[in-house]
Symmetry: C2
Subunit: 263 residues, 2 copies
């Protein structure tokens, strides 16, 4: 029989030091990606994958992603559906100075609160433009419009802030800025136990692995078992991935998996 | 003033020959990406970007994407929401032989129809396994379960078919297979006018471009105007993208844009 290969790692590389919070389920989250350029295929989104990895490391379960165009009704409906369904919602895109940047007023509308230029946001922008000798104008001032009751999210790249309103965290779409805002947000969120995973690489096709794997998944119902087919040098193989927050249970499952498929 | 640079292209490269259907709005579509591995950040989805480009070329407007985990309730709810909201729904993922492959029964449940092993699907799999000397087993037979009333979608890579049920098109998650199934599906769908786009690269930041661009977008309300900031060699610039299905209107808008920003 073929020999399995163990790979042990955090689902996202690099473990955070997080205090274990036993018996507390992890917070849940959803993401809303906003922008015509994603849906038309002009731009390939990379923010979703980044957020997924960061949340996994932080012990926050990303449960759903939606991508919608720069359309008022679509954005408002998605914000309202997601903010009621999950502990946190992160949006990306649509907070720049141009006419198609409508995320901030849409989030205000979803919450039913007013939006206006806020003095602290305006001061941040003004200081940034003063440093670079750029003039403030009406378009740029749009980026200081913040819904009532929101908290600003720092933008170390281009100053124009994001904001959190209730459980909705509104961020820029430009990846470099989005990633900086995620880092800033994560320092303020209480995460849960990081999702751990272990992978067994099996030199057999999924069709051979499926039945015993299904039985094991039922037995270890506190863990998630995924199987991902691959093809290498003409042979079929399967990466079996076990995920969970309890390292001891993961080890127990891997021992069983290895007995089934490992040699 | 800075000189603009014209870039003319189809939003997705490579134009299809499509008969113009004047005054007929393009069909709309949504996509549902299914799989824990996407949401955990283990795998970076590429199917969405591929489908977006193909639909744009084919004159089908991709309006929304949802990504959910391998969870029955989440999949059924998403299928039902999307199939009632759009002309077409494409799903990717969850149609393999293992216990976490639950897309087919979830789609059947969403439509309220039975699902069972279908003889034509079983015959396709059997022929494939006979050729490769592989044994049919219970797990592999799961891939022949097709909801009542569905039409099979050809899988030239690994035989296990996708299917269309009503306006929902169910495809594999492995990119090579997904892409082959999209090609097969597109040959059967009636598209609209391909979305054309032209881009003007402007050597000014978005904040300088925003006001005149907004006014132009109001005047050309039959077109979509997007602006995408970039930074090169320390200077800020903006790609202004105009999208629409009427080449003459696009040319008219670009003439005006060039007068505003081009030189």
């Amino acid at each position: 029989m073929e020999r399995g290969l163990y790979v042990n790692h955090l689902e996202a590389q690099g473990a955070r030091d997080t205090k274990e919070v036993p018996h507390m389920p992890n917070p849940t989250a959803a993401m809303l990606v906003i922008g015509d350029e994603i849906l038309s295929g002009r731009t390939r989104d990379s923010n979703m994958h980044h957020l997924a990895q960061e949340f996994t490391r932080h012990g926050i379960d990303l449960r759903e992603v939606r991508m919608v165009s720069d359309d008022r009704a679509a954005i408002v409906a998605a914000v309202n559906a997601l903010r009621h369904g999950f502990d946190h919602v992160v949006t990306s895109g649509g907070i720049g100075p141009t006419h198609d940047d409508i995320t901030a007023p849409c989030v205000a509308e979803a919450f039913g609160v007013p939006i206006s230029v806020r003095e602290d946001a305006r001061a941040i922008l003004q200081a940034h433009y003063d440093r670079s000798g750029t003039e403030m104008n009406e378009a740029r001032l749009r980026m200081a419009r913040i819904p009532d009751g929101a908290t600003l999210i720092d933008n170390p790249i281009s100053a124009a802030p994001g904001f959190s309103l209730g459980n909705v965290h509104v961020m820029a779409g430009v990846p470099q800025i989005f990633e900086a805002m995620v880092a800033s947000l994560l320092s303020t969120l209480v995460g849960g136990a990081p999702l751990l995973s272990q992978t067994l690489r099996v030199q057999r096709g999924e069709g051979m692995v499926a039945e015993p794997l299904g039985a094991l998944a039922e037995e270890f119902s506190d863990l998630q078992f995924g199987s991902y087919p691959f093809q290498k040098d003409g042979a079929f193989g399967t990466n079996v991935v076990v995920r969970g927050t309890d390292a001891g249970r993961l080890d127990a499952a891997m021992t069983r998996l290895n007995a089934l498929f490992g040699d």
